[in-house]
Amino acid sequence: MSVNSQTADSGDRRQLWAKAPRLAAGAPRIVALALAAITGLLVLGPAASLIVIASGDSGDLWAHLIAHVIPDSLVETALLLAGVAALTTGIGVGAAWLISTFQFPGRAKLVWLLPLPLAIPTYIVAYVYVDILDTAGPVQTALRAAFGWQSPAEYWFPPIRSLGGAIGVIGFVLYPYVYLASRAMFQTQCTAYIEAARVLGARPVRLVRTITLPLARPAIAVGLALALMETLNDIGASEYLGVRTLTLSIFSTWLNRGNLTGAAQIASLMLLAVLALVALERYGRRRRGFAAPAQDSQLVTPIVLSGARGWLATLACVLPVTLGFFLPAGFLAWQVIERSLFAGFDKALLAHTLNTITYAAAATGIVLALGFGVVAALRWLPNAFIAACVNLAGIGYAMPGTVLALGMLTPLVALDDGINAVTRAVAGVGVGLLIAGSGAAVVIAYVVRFLAISVGFAQSGFARITTAFDDSARLLGAGPATVTRTLHIPLARPAIFGAALLIFVDCLKELPATLLLRPLNVETLSTYVYQFATRGSFEEGALAALMIVAVGVVPVVYMVRLADLSAEFASGAARMSA
């Protein structure tokens, strides 16, 4: 018998909301509505300007696309997404499950090593693997020398510049999205089901199939959706590896056909398709509750895997982090040494690092506050407007970064025009492009882009907190602020840390929107690295690329440790309250 998530005591979400205490009129209600309105405006601004651009006449574009582009691109894009989905889910969920369920050699270190591939931009990893595995690379050169082959025609070697290569590269870099999302859930997994099933003799594999996975489904869906949107919107790695995705046709339409309208039309349709898929997944689990009974959300005692099985588990976790992180990072480090890049150290790099951290930290703070705030608002005030704003939050992530940046230009300048109108009226002088011409534009772009992560993690995190807590607290006279501070935030901490980590590191790596929106004379580490890559010598940017990694690794290690501590805290709190 499978323990269906529906049997969790929370029951139907809609019932649960109906039972949830509503906010009375007054300040908290206004705060909740304001948070939702800001979220909605932020994501709708660029979407609306995209639609305005798309509403023009694109000429004969669509007949051409349907005849010559879409059939192949659609298949290639679908295969790429399917491959990346299989790889990231397999590795992400597998590793999170091993780490959460078992004790094996190296586990304590692997907990924080596994998310590390996050810290390297995907396109850089693609360049690295082409350098290593391509025909002229060290691997094939060594093979030719070893077997006495004179030319590549004499043997077959799996081509890295191919669909398969792209799936491998992207999959090994993006699995941490799924890993972090599912780990945050596994950590606070309800032990009663698991212990009960264990007592009844269920083997670990059966536990996974019948309990762990069904309960973690919302989290896995969030992580996977993020990884797939990232894949879909990638252009650097796909183009380089020769995969013709639909996103590339946006760019050839815009830049080669000079048809911005048509490009916006393709982008809008893809956006709709992505949103529809996400909605479909949500619809699929609409009647299920995923909250764990309060008294049981303590950490599962890990099963000790001894001997060969333990080492096998170690290997299963070491392999992805090696391929996704150690190998590419090691290659970059080797380039730094071989090219003695330290000798020609560009002092401006320090300023770039500071810019990068400032933008990323500011955006992370705002995104977390907004995302978790608006989801909390919905919990307190079930309301169609807030729900709509929450559901729209994914838009920024669902479009390619350059498209988002293009879409943000008009709303940002409109905001500036408003500011100028005010200052002219009051002080008689304009202030120019205060927002669009400053770092604020970059931070706002990050906020719009990464709201999806924050909202996604907040939703799956809050879904795990039973409303029985809220009810008890309210009965004892606690107000919304107190409940949020003392209950929701501590209990959602693993989700908050997971989200903070992903957002911060994603901001560090973000390239297309930063490129187009940053102010004069400002570089971030990722725009700096990109300058070398476009000149066909990304190795020269290895030092800056490693600095992205270094800046990214610190929060990865720190957050994962905090998340582990807070998971213990959350389970402790749950036990006490019981």
Partner: protein, 341 residues
């Protein structure tokens, strides 16, 4: 009283904004939006500042800068836009973000085929789209673009995506030179000769030739020069190949332009004009040629020795604006014959 205080407050915000923004019209500065990497341009701008005392503020990106200027409207800080491709120059004109550059000096120095008839853009430097041929396996030292479609090269040519703007411009030139029908046959022939599905960048094509995957790679002149002057790891790729400057049968070698436009609302127009004229001066042209391994647009300026080793450039006489008109047709053709498949 309150009103005064409010005014003081807003006044100080305004003052602060001037400090923060830094992107506003100020004398002694010029704001440059560039598609050429700002790091590469840095030595030139430093030299310009030394010569003129003007400070250059820079932002570089790979696409969308003309759209940014358009959206910024009258408040745009952009004075000058530098591009690395004829396509972006035409896009800027079409986006309505340019104004005619009026300069006797520029008209004298820049040949008509390398500038817009109305003066909305001027070329500054050029690169040629050429063949990297295997020294070991290719005997001939001259080739035509038409010959790349000859069956004798079957399975021996490597090239990046046909939708990349470098190839887009080359194929547009083929359409402009040969006519749509002949150009389509030619592209079919080229496609049939490819050793593998188009991917990678220009550098990878030289690398594939060096590794024996193919015998001819298509790429820009400066990529080869960068490899030839790079570290030990890349040098062998250049050494295994030789650069042949192909020509059209009825013309010369296809070149693409790095060019400049003057922004419509340029807040520092006088300074911008000084920069633009300085960029076609002998000193800047020499630096351009050396730093970027490009061909100077100004006659009589020496090219870098690596570039000179390819032999004399016989650039195709067709105006680049005529070639740019065929960009869409070239993009469509690439899709129609499944060039990237």
């Amino acid at each position: 009283m309150t009103c005064t205080r409010l005014r003081v407050m807003i006044g100080s915000v305004v003052v602060l904004a001037f400090g923060l923004g830094g992107a506003l019209a100020q004398s002694g500065e010029v704001n440059v939006y560039t598609y050429r990497e700002s790091k590469l341009m840095a030595p030139l701008f430093e030299a310009f500042s030394q010569d003129t005392g003007l400070k250059v503020n820079v932002i570089s990106a790979s696409s969308g800068l003309e759209q940014r200027i358009r959206a910024e409207g009258a408040n745009s800080p952009a004075d000058v836009l530098l591009t690395v491709d004829i396509g972006r120059l035409e896009d800027a004109v079409r986006a309505g973000v340019t104004q005619p550059i009026r300069s006797d000096l520029l008209e004298r120095v820049v040949e008509p085929r390398y500038r817009d008839p109305e003066g909305h853009w001027y070329g500054i430097s050029m690169r040629a789209r050429v063949v990297y041929a295997s020294r070991e396996r290719v005997a001939q030292d001259a080739i035509t673009y038409e010959e790349l479609a000859d069956a004798k090269w079957k399975g021996r040519i490597c090239i990046r995506s046909g939708q990349h703007n470098y190839n887009n411009a080359l194929f547009a030139a083929a359409i402009a030179k040969l006519g749509a029908g002949t150009a389509a046959d030619w592209l079919h022939g080229l496609k049939a000769n490819l050793a593998q599905k188009p991917s990678g960048g220009d550098r990878e094509q030289a690398r594939d030739v060096a590794a024996g995957k193919c015998d001819l790679g298509i790429g820009n002149t400066y990529y080869w020069a960068l490899m030839a002057n790079a570290n030990a790891a890349q040098k062998p790729w250049a050494q295994a190949t030789k650069v042949i400057l192909p020509t059209f049968k009825n013309g010369g070698t296809h070149v693409n332009l790095s060019g400049v436009i003057l922004a419509k609302h340029a807040p520092n127009k006088a300074n911008a004009m000084r920069l633009i004229e300085w960029l076609v001066g002998e000193k800047a042209q020499l630096m351009y040629a050396d730093v970027n391994y490009e061909y100077p647009v100004r006659a009589g300026v020496a090219v870098n020795p690596t570039i000179a080793s390819f032999g004399a450039l016989n650039a195709d006489p067709m105006p680049l604006s005529t070639i740019a008109e065929q960009r869409k047709a070239a993009a469509d053709l690439v899709d129609q014959i499944g060039f990237d498949r």
